[in-house]
Symmetry: C2
């Protein structure tokens, strides 16, 4: 029942891709979650509705990592699934390094998966995040500070990422693997209290569940409501941005300045975020950066303003970002 | 410095009331927070910028409650501040009783304070919620389930309520009382783990602070951002509601039905919430109630639909709520 339900959810998500037989890259760590998702996607591969490539990044941070890479390769070979293994050092030069080891690890995996996706001209990248990962993400965002968009957490389909397990419980995944005697790798750093996510998993989530047994169910519906409000605001933002944009005689896409100045600060922030991300995907601008740019745009002074890595240029009644 | 800062914040909040010398009702429990706020408001009373009335509700739930009421009376008499003490049984008949004792207590206090406010034709009710109360409220909302509006928590000025201490720390309040040897009552139920708020205070908040020392600061700025996005959506809602409303020949305020049906679900929910609250302040409609009404309004069938205590009537191209 559980396995069939996940397969049905995955088929339904795949139908959103508008591609006859999409190629799916699976982010495959060899841990229980991605191993379970490999089994689900293998069913869809055997049904002939997807082409499947498993992709494993060997971070080389731990002793066991070479053995895990070997495990992934052998497991896929048994199931006749193509498996790509790369080492993280190949991507280190092109990825921003964060003070948080988790963030750097995620950046490396993203760069790796994007490379593999491009190499195979794949339609999507499947990730094995489950329901409890979603709740942990919510608290990571709360503790690090977030806007509404941040609190909406992960989505089942956020191109190019597919998360078919997002509404399923970790406990059901583990039960399935146990019942079918499926082996998997266990990452010992999942228990290290040095990682914020582990402290959330071991202290905050149990405290919330003790406070009220319906906590997970309530938080799930809260996140859904936040996603609806955020999507609505995002639609307004895109509509406003389209209204205020035009291509100037030099072929550059520019924004009408007085139109921007007369827009509510909430949409101003969102419009800028959209523009900055379009220009440079590697860095997510901080709240302080956004505020600094808004002050420049609302001011009388023209010219240009530099907030590394962006340059905002203002001239007559238009502005643009380089 | 701290005391002066709170006085300045309070004066600035009072300036929003647009009343020469407003009468302020203070919700006065005799506990440290409201006792501190009494001292602040007493300064403003002596400056001649407010008229002050302290209002204490004796819940009669605990042994100590009569002694606390007496303490409040005597304390105010010493400072020459008018103090009203009522017992909760006077209000019990007119207040919805909740399964949660905390919620019932809050409803009783609200009914009491509103009565006193009306009696004195006062301009505002001052409450002594501080910064840590705000964080606890956030988690109460998370654990019980909330929409964006719920997560925005309490505001410094949300007519008729003023919360001058909302950005100040409990620890600074206690230090001030200690330094000035000001006595106060201590409610022993503040430590009972039967109350959700106490479980949050004793388990969840410390777990979050242990996870990251900047947690309180980050959550404060997250709440501010949510308030901005929520206010913007609320303004859109009121604008849309005004657009779609008119007074019909019978003198009733009605809403254009096809206009409502063509509005985004996010604004539909908010418009309905607004209409239902205007009609009946005692009950906050649940998410399920709102969804049920939307289904009725989006359907082809006319007539009326009853969701106690509201009746929604639909006729030709209009609807209204009774």
């Amino acid at each position: 029942m559980f396995f069939q339900s996940v397969c049905a959810t995955t088929r339904s998500l795949l139908s959103q891709l508008a591609h006859q037989k999409p190629t799916i890259i699976l982010g495959f760590s060899g841990g229980p979650d991605s191993l379970f998702l490999l089994h689900v996607l293998d069913v869809l591969k055997n049904e002939g509705i997807i082409t499947l490539v498993a992709a494993h990044l060997d971070h080389q941070w731990r002793q066991e990592s070479a053995a895990e890479a070997l495990f992934c390769k052998k497991y896929c070979a048994q199931k006749n699934i193509e498996c790509i293994v790369h080492t993280a050092d190949q991507y280190a030069a092109n990825v921003p390094h964060s003070t948080s080891k988790e963030a750097t690890g995620r950046n490396l995996r993203r760069a790796f998966l994007t490379t593999i996706k491009n190499h195979y001209s794949a339609q999507a990248i499947a990730l094995a995040h489950h329901r409890q990962d979603q709740f942990e993400t919510f608290f990571v965002r709360i503790i690090r500070g977030a806007s509404l968009s941040g609190l909406t957490c992960m989505k089942q389909y956020n191109p190019p990422y597919l998360r078919p397990l997002l509404t399923y419980n970790k406990s059901d995944i583990l039960t399935y693997l146990e019942q079918h005697a499926i082996p998997f790798c266990l990452d010992p750093t999942n228990n290290h209290e040095t990682f914020l996510r582990n402290r959330i998993r071991h202290s905050i989530i149990p405290a919330c569940t003790n406070a009220d047994a319906r906590f997970e169910q309530k938080l799930e519906s809260t996140i859904q409501q936040l996603q609806q409000e955020d999507t609505f605001l995002q639609q307004l933002t895109i509509k406003k941005l389209t209204e205020l944009s035009h291509t100037n005689h030099a072929g550059r896409s520019v924004i009408n300045l007085s139109g921007f100045q007369n827009t509510d600060p909430v949409l101003q922030r969102r419009m800028l975020l959209d523009l900055l991300i379009t220009q440079q995907r590697h860095f997510l601008p901080s709240s302080a950066t956004i505020n600094e740019i808004i002050r420049f745009l609302m001011g009388i002074k023209g010219g240009q303003h530099c907030v590394t890595p962006w340059i905002i240029k203002k001239k007559s009644n238009i502005f643009w970002i380089e």
